[in-house]
């Protein structure tokens, strides 16, 4: 297969950046999108040009490293998939493909298609955990967790932290990301003691980082490779109101 690629090139954070056009040919339909970019980069190196920088690692959809904005969509034309799990058979021979980085104010560009997503880690630092020290846990079966709750906790816990939700959102909101962690821990008995503080502090950090507000358009859930349901956001909203408006029963 043959493609024309319009790729965002930006030398570093200070550079203004621009699109450049490249041609690739002889691509197998079974090649992944990133393997197609590998072929382009090999060609660029042989031509003495600077290869395109892009993030990637596991190439099986779980590490959350890769993230390209392809033809105006986070992770490309298919819903709920990472860029590394997108195959060239989903494009037409001769297509022109536009490739950009994930764009959001809290995701500064490092080079070309690589962005800094450490803002997401700082949200987790504000409470995306259960404060338990190594060595202090009781027997694992001492607290039964109803299967439906455990299954829902799992559904929320599968977030891979790729940032597609932010890139897809017109407000660059990190609501689905934050809600996934808040909701995961809210489902479990172990998550209850810190539940109020967690939602308040994580939402506050989201604002500090410069992520926008959620306006419930649901674009995030369409692109989310982990299929985090929008219900997570509803859960976060409920917890947030509850935590802010009702007295904490733990404080007598």
């Amino acid at each position: 297969m043959r493609f024309t690629l319009r790729i965002w090139r930006q030398k570093n954070a200070q550079d203004q950046g621009r699109f450049e056009t490249y041609e690739v040919d002889g691509i197998s339909p079974d090649a992944s999108f990133l393997e197609m970019l590998d072929v382009l980069n090999e060609k660029l190196i042989h031509e003495g040009k600077d290869p395109v920088a892009f993030d990637h690692d596991c190439r099986e959809g779980i590490c959350g490293s890769c993230g390209l904005f392809i033809n105006g969509r986070a992770h490309g034309p298919l819903p709920n998939i990472t860029t590394c799990r997108l195959y060239m058979r989903h494009f037409k021979d001769g297509d022109t493909i536009t490739i950009e980085p994930f764009r959001a104010k809290p995701f500064p560009i490092i080079k070309d298609l690589v962005v800094d997503r450490s803002a997401l880690d700082r949200i987790i630092q504000k409470g995306g955990y259960i404060s338990v020290n190594t060595g202090s846990a009781p027997d694992a079966n001492s607290i039964p967790v109803p299967k439906p709750a455990a299954d829902r906790a799992f559904d929320y816990a599968t977030c891979i932290g790729c940032g597609a939700c932010v890139a897809a959102c017109k407000n660059a909101s990190a609501m689905l990301f934050t809600a996934a962690k808040v909701s995961h821990l809210a489902m479990l008995p172990q998550g209850q003691p810190e539940r109020r503080q967690r939602v308040k502090r994580m939402v506050a950090q989201m604002d500090i980082e410069g992520f926008g507000h959620c306006s419930n358009t649901g674009a995030c859930a369409v692109e989310c490779p982990a299929k985090i349901p929008l219900a997570a956001i509803a859960q976060l909203q409920r917890d947030f109101i509850w935590a802010n408006l009702t007295p904490d029963p733990q404080i007598k």
Binding site: I45, R59, E60, C63, V132, N133, T134, A140, F154
Partner: protein, 660 residues
Amino acid sequence: MSEILTIPIPTKTEPSISWTEGSPILENRCPSGDLEKRWTRHKDSLRLVAPHNKRKLEVIVVGAGLAGASAAASLGELGYQVKVFVYHNSPRRAHSIAAQGGINAAKNYRNDGDSIWRLFYDTIKGGDFRARESNVYRLAEVSVKIIDHCVAQGIPFAREYGGYLDTRSFGGAQLMRTFYARGQTGQQLLLGAYAALQRQVELGNVKVFYNHELLDVVVDEGRARGVIVRNLITGEIHRVAGHAVVLATGGYGNAYYLSTNAKLSNATAIWRAHRRGAFFANPSFVQIHPTCIPQSGEYQSKLTLMSESLRNDGRVWVPRTPGDKRAPQSIPENERWYYLEEWYPSFGNLVPRDIASRAAKRVCDMGYGVGPTGRAVYLDFSDAIKRFGREVIYQRYGNLFEMYEEITGESPWETPMRIYPAVHYTMGGLWVDYNLMTNIPGLYAIGEANFSDHGANRLGASALMQGLADGYFILPYTIGDYLATQLFVKNSTDTAAFADAEKETRERIEKVLSTKGTRTVDEFHRELGKILWDSCGLARSASGLSEAFSKVRELRERFWQEVRVPGTGHEFNQNLEKALRVSDFFELGELMIVDAYHREESCGCHLREEYQTEEGEALRNDNEYAYVAAWEWAGEGKPPILHKEPLKFEFVKPTVRSYK
């Protein structure tokens, strides 16, 4: 797509494999006495550091996968000052995240007769009796606490309807002791350790440096004193001093180019430590996983694993007639050869990985292989779907089926998967004593980066167990024993050892950038991978290894003359990163070949064609090779020095491993 350039290699085949033998390793700090009491008594004998002194001690942790993140979090909880360096853009990206199947623990929640002893025995037998009894027993012992801790962290393990934890069976065991979180157990466990780490960051006990790659370990007067790291965004080189250095940088399966490892996984940290004096143990012990999606073309950048858990319900077969080109569904039952069930009736499709991989190779070599290349076998779920229904199978393997379909365009609901073995895990790694310390005082290696617990073959669901055992429950105790001696040491980066290490690092970067040849790093890496896969993969022979050794050396020399690395060292340069990693794979590749050549027996993953039974099973030689081969770096181009650590079996009797 562009033609993949093959690099012509002159035919120069004189065998040049050589090594010298050094003194045996007699001290590994393994306790003596009753096996069940060894770890407890050892812990009680370790030196302690008081809380007010812990604050004065700095520990450097490199890597934040399961082992690194769990260690850094636990050390932070204890009150040490911890600095973590990761080359990823977040500690949550480490390759532990990709582990699918599960984590073993001797909980006996199933009432099926499990015990610490049985997990210990299965693991040491699974490793074909090439691991230390003391270490493996300790691993089985602490496995129980790992599950407790992970549940307390909120990890959503699979549960039964009563709310209690579910388990399943895995290769090499006849018990159901594997805890799991659908097909994403590694992800959930890593995110638990990552969250614990982030908590320590918030509390100010741990500082994590993103996008920083270790390029050298600094050893001064025989002790580890720090590291040299490169900021991958700016290209700056930094010296970092610490009272101890912990390497948790994973395995080296990517030496083979095609493997199930993440693309960035590399051996640089452990290889640089090796060059600074740390022994490298059993480098040729590489696990080849039986159930991976076969390679489809030259452009392929990695191979994708299909979890071993699939062998719980999937049946492996090939057509009884070699070259049968019919669609698998139209081949009647009596014309299908379920070779694993036939050869190994008591374990069936759940034989250990090395055995399943070799069996697949054997049937393909005999001409029974399927698919376009003839290098694949079927993994068929139709019986299980009939027995349990689609819903149950979806619950168990839904995400794996989807992943398979995305990659191959075929649905496992309709047609059997096609699978073939691929490089997956490295049992070899830095030599460590019972305290997980290398032979360089103050330098520790944990998780896949060390060699310790899996012998010559790792059982499924044991990597997660080992990584977390090392990080949560072993290192936090043992490192204190060393740090207690370092209380009055003032850390400084202003030493000749730091200056030398920094200078050498800068020179290495300069050298690879200034070559300005005509071939890309990937072209060399692919070529190296092919040599290693063909000669040091599923089967090895003296002649094949000798030839491979000269080829690798030849290729390495060409690399330094012909590689082209664009850009400079003062910027974000992914090709420079790759070039430095691949240059280390060349040297490691040579050592892997030497190790495979020197071990004139077959054991676990290591099948020497000269040493096998008539049925093609591994033929061990316990009289001569019941030892850990710990290699010492002797200098550039010099034959490595072999130190043997004898393996004593006081509690189990090495037997011929039978899964029949």
